[in-house]
Amino acid sequence: MKNISCDVLVVGAGAAGLCAGSVTSKHGLDTIIIDREDQPGGILKQCIHNGFGLRYFKEELTGPEYACRVAKLAADAGAKIMTGTTAVEAKKNADGSFTFKVFSQKEKVCYISSKAVLFTTGCRERTRGNIITPGTRPAGVFTAGAAQKLLNISGYLPGKCAVIVGSGDIGLIMARRLKWCGIDVKAVVEIMRHPSGLTRNIVQCLDDFGIPLYLGHSVTNIYGKERVEAVDITPLADGKPDFSKTFKVDCDTLLFSVGLVPEVELAKQLEVKINPATGGAFVDDDYETTTPMVFASGNGLHVHDLVDFVSEESERAAGSICRRLSGAKNSDKVPVTVEKTLKYVVPTQATRGEKQSFYFRPLIVANKATLEARADGKIIKKRLIPFVRPAEMLEFELEIPAECKEMEFALTGGELL
């Protein structure tokens, strides 16, 4: 069995892993980025639409273009990218290093040991099973991402007439994509009273194509023994389906775009603690998890709206790894929490006297709300935010006061969901 050693092992060669790997490599750290797929780039490879990179590259790119750019950054910096490589086990060694067992096309079964680990594992899609949609189990039921891969990578049509469950961004992008392939899209059905996807995607992918969006509705039955034949759509009243108003829509395809779940199963093997609010790891402002020298960033940490944010966050995580491997000690931190108007904050620990970027997901809808930062209960900074939706991530830069004991963030004004 081959044993490979390196300074930094990055798990996942999507935008997060590639951007982080380019930073650690440039810094002179021996970096290996592993990925299960045959090509680097992660999910970007199947996102053939544009709109990527406006912030990070200052130009508009498609997903595959963005993937190529960041893969080149990593390769040029000297990172070793091992594709076709799946990590199956992770363990912590007595000397503080880590060893991963991997299956690799090139090395077969082998072990990779490193001084630091960065998890950039991305997400998986929630499925029909996760949200317990009743009905038959025919062919024609896909997650939106699986259908996207089938269409954009393999070149096959998932059906001829679709209903989309959930208004997540992938579902919205797929609604437009299906239309462009000649597939009828009968409806997008969202259980919440507000879309879960970005507003620009509602406009560009649904409104522009006349695709109806049913907010506050749920798919309550699936018909068809062999292939999907129809679905029942039911409006919700006080959070419960009102079956007296159920209507049936014929379709042969059902796509689920009902949320993303960070992939943390491998991190859990290293005793990384998971934040129930994000589904990803708890991290401090170094992006270090509760297990020392194990870091996390990107969608595997919390779900981002834009890949540009993923790249920026991962560069910061990589910067921390460089400092820590150069001997910097983990400093004393302040706990960071949120009020009930916010779903979560990342990071949940921050260093006093340093400028930090915080990311939030709102739980309120408002056309104007104030984001407040409170140090030991006192407001130290606030910002008026003109457009607040759960679908839109918030970012806030702040220097934590030197004497502070705890930090809290809240949104005031607006309607609590």
Partner: protein, 482 residues
């Protein structure tokens, strides 16, 4: 061509019969209307090897259950299917329930079972710490276990085929007539299959086949059971199968540690009219969740990865109906094989073989019986050295396709070469697509491998045969109307 015996139905009953008949010098075929074996009743059930204490041994059902249970271990050794003798705990949560538990214990003793324990609260929690602390006591049957039912059927059919039994998929028998000592079975595609003897193992449709062959008239009424599968990371996974105290009509809702590493909760029991109604319902999930949460710690809605429903082929009366037809010659009825049919199946196979012999079928054992199936390597269960050795010969053993269940490309190729060319067939043979992402990441790759290995064009691949096509054609073949 006239077969000596044709078995209609490749579920667990038909497959176990074929496995037995393969050992004799006769020409035998199994016909099934579905795209693969085990695709009816057998694929969707709790996968329990029962302990033999639910029914009195005076019934044929209990006799075959006890016998079948004793055969499973040696069969696993030869046929290689996923099965674990976990033991069964019937847990009581009140003194009243404890009285029923005691009855089960005594019935088990009466049925000749070994190693049974009537357990105090303390002993119960020692045996299964996952049980809720308000458990009063239990009955422990170490002889019960869990099995992957589809893999078990595949293994039986594989062995039957190794011994020369023919398997005709997508072959639906619509009628049969007996003339000049030979059964003529007419199939939906117009073909006629001829055989001296017929075994009716048509599961939910055994009543229709019987009628269409002029044999006894009876009614199979489907009784639906819903099951929910929890991720392998669920805290609820017990070490033993947990049964509640049974009611008159049902063995109740169980918590099952599947051999594959997931945890299953279910089933319900509802009479339905449609023999193809395998839809799940929202209300039942809430019921199953509450019932299992009351028994076992850590059962959570968050861990549900999928749901399914199966239909039990229920028949009038309490027993299996396994007997030669009294109306037509050389026709063996094997109907109403519901729970514990899976457990009883090895003994059912032997029993039907003996019935055929009694009806005059000459059975001479072959000299070259193949008792063992070749193994199907499962990389996730092998040591590093074993995997390395496989990879030296075939590098596709190093390519993990299904990441959640760690299934390699080689295992998928193996399944296709065994004749499983539908997505469900490959899934049941390998577990690829059974994990927490439910095929979200790997389905496109799996389709490509099936297509490449089977020669079936991508757009014609199906989930489970017939009109269950996965795709509607190639990109660019639809007219775009914007």
């Amino acid at each position: 061509m006239v077969y000596d015996t044709v078995i209609v139905g490749a579920g667990v009953t038909g497959a176990a019969t074929a496995w037995q008949l393969g050992r004799y010098n006769i020409k035998c075929a199994v016909l099934d209307k579905a795209a693969d074996c085990g695709f009816g009743v057998s694929k969707a059930n709790s996968g329990i090897i029962h302990g033999g204490f639910h029914h009195s041994v005076t019934s044929l059902k209990a006799k075959l259950e006890v016998e079948g249970n004793l055969m499973i271990d040696s069969m696993q050794h030869a046929l290689h299917f996923p099965y674990v003798r976990t033991g069964i705990l019937v847990a009581a949560f009140s003194e009243e329930e404890m009285q029923t538990v005691e009855k089960l214990y005594h019935r088990g003793l009466g049925n000749g079972l070994k190693g049974l324990e009537l357990c105090s609260k303390e002993r119960t929690l020692e045996l299964e710490p996952k049980l809720q602390d308000n458990v009063v006591g239990s009955f422990y049957a170490p002889n019960g276990g869990t099995i992957e039912p589809y893999r078990y059927v595949f293994a039986l059919m594989e062995n039957a085929q190794l011994n020369g039994v023919e398997f005709k998929r997508n072959t639906k028998v619509v009628s049969g007539r007996f003339a000049d000592g030979i059964w003529h079975l007419e199939c939906e595609d117009g073909s006629v299959v001829k055989s001296r003897y017929v075994v009716n193992a048509a599961g939910l449709f055994a009543d229709e086949l019987s009628k269409a062959c002029g044999a006894e008239e009876f009614t199979i009424r489907p009784r639906k059971g819903e099951e929910y599968l929890l991720d392998r990371t669920s805290d609820a996974r017990p070490s033993k199968v947990i049964f509640p105290v049974p009611t008159k009509t049902s063995k109740g809702v169980l918590v099952i540690p599947t051999p594959g590493g997931t945890t299953m909760i279910g089933p319900t029991a509802d009479m339905v009219d449609d023999k193809e109604d395998a839809a799940t319902t929202g209300e039942h999930f809430d019921k199953i969740l509450a019932m299992t949460q009351n028994m076992v710690k850590g059962v959570s809605r968050r861990d549900v990865i999928t749901a399914f429903a199966g239909l039990r082929p229920a028949i009038e009366g309490d027993d299996f109906y396994i007997a030669p037809s009294e109306k037509v010659p050389n026709f063996i009825q094997a109907a109403g094989i519901q729970s514990p049919g899976l457990t009883a199946s090895p003994a059912i196979g032997v029993y039907i073989k003996d019935l055929l012999k009694k009806c005059g079928l000459e059975l001479v054992e072959k000299s070259d019986i193949i008792y063992e199936n070749p193994g199907h390597p499962e990389v996730r269960n092998l040591s590093d050295e074993q995997v390395q050795a496989l990879c030296e010969k075939d590098e596709s053993y190093s390519r993990i396709v299904c990441r959640c269940e760690q299934i390699t490309e080689a295992e998928i190729i193996d399944a296709v070469r065994c004749g499983h060319t539908t997505v469900d067939g490959v899934k049941f043979h390998t577990r690829a697509g059974m994990g927490r992402c439910q095929g979200g990441f790997c389905s496109a790759k799996i389709l490509e491998i099936i297509s490449r290995e089977s020669g079936i064009p991508m757009q014609e691949l199906t989930k489970r045969g017939a009109n269950s096509r996965i795709m509607a054609g190639k990109l660019g073949t639809l007219e775009v109307k914007l």
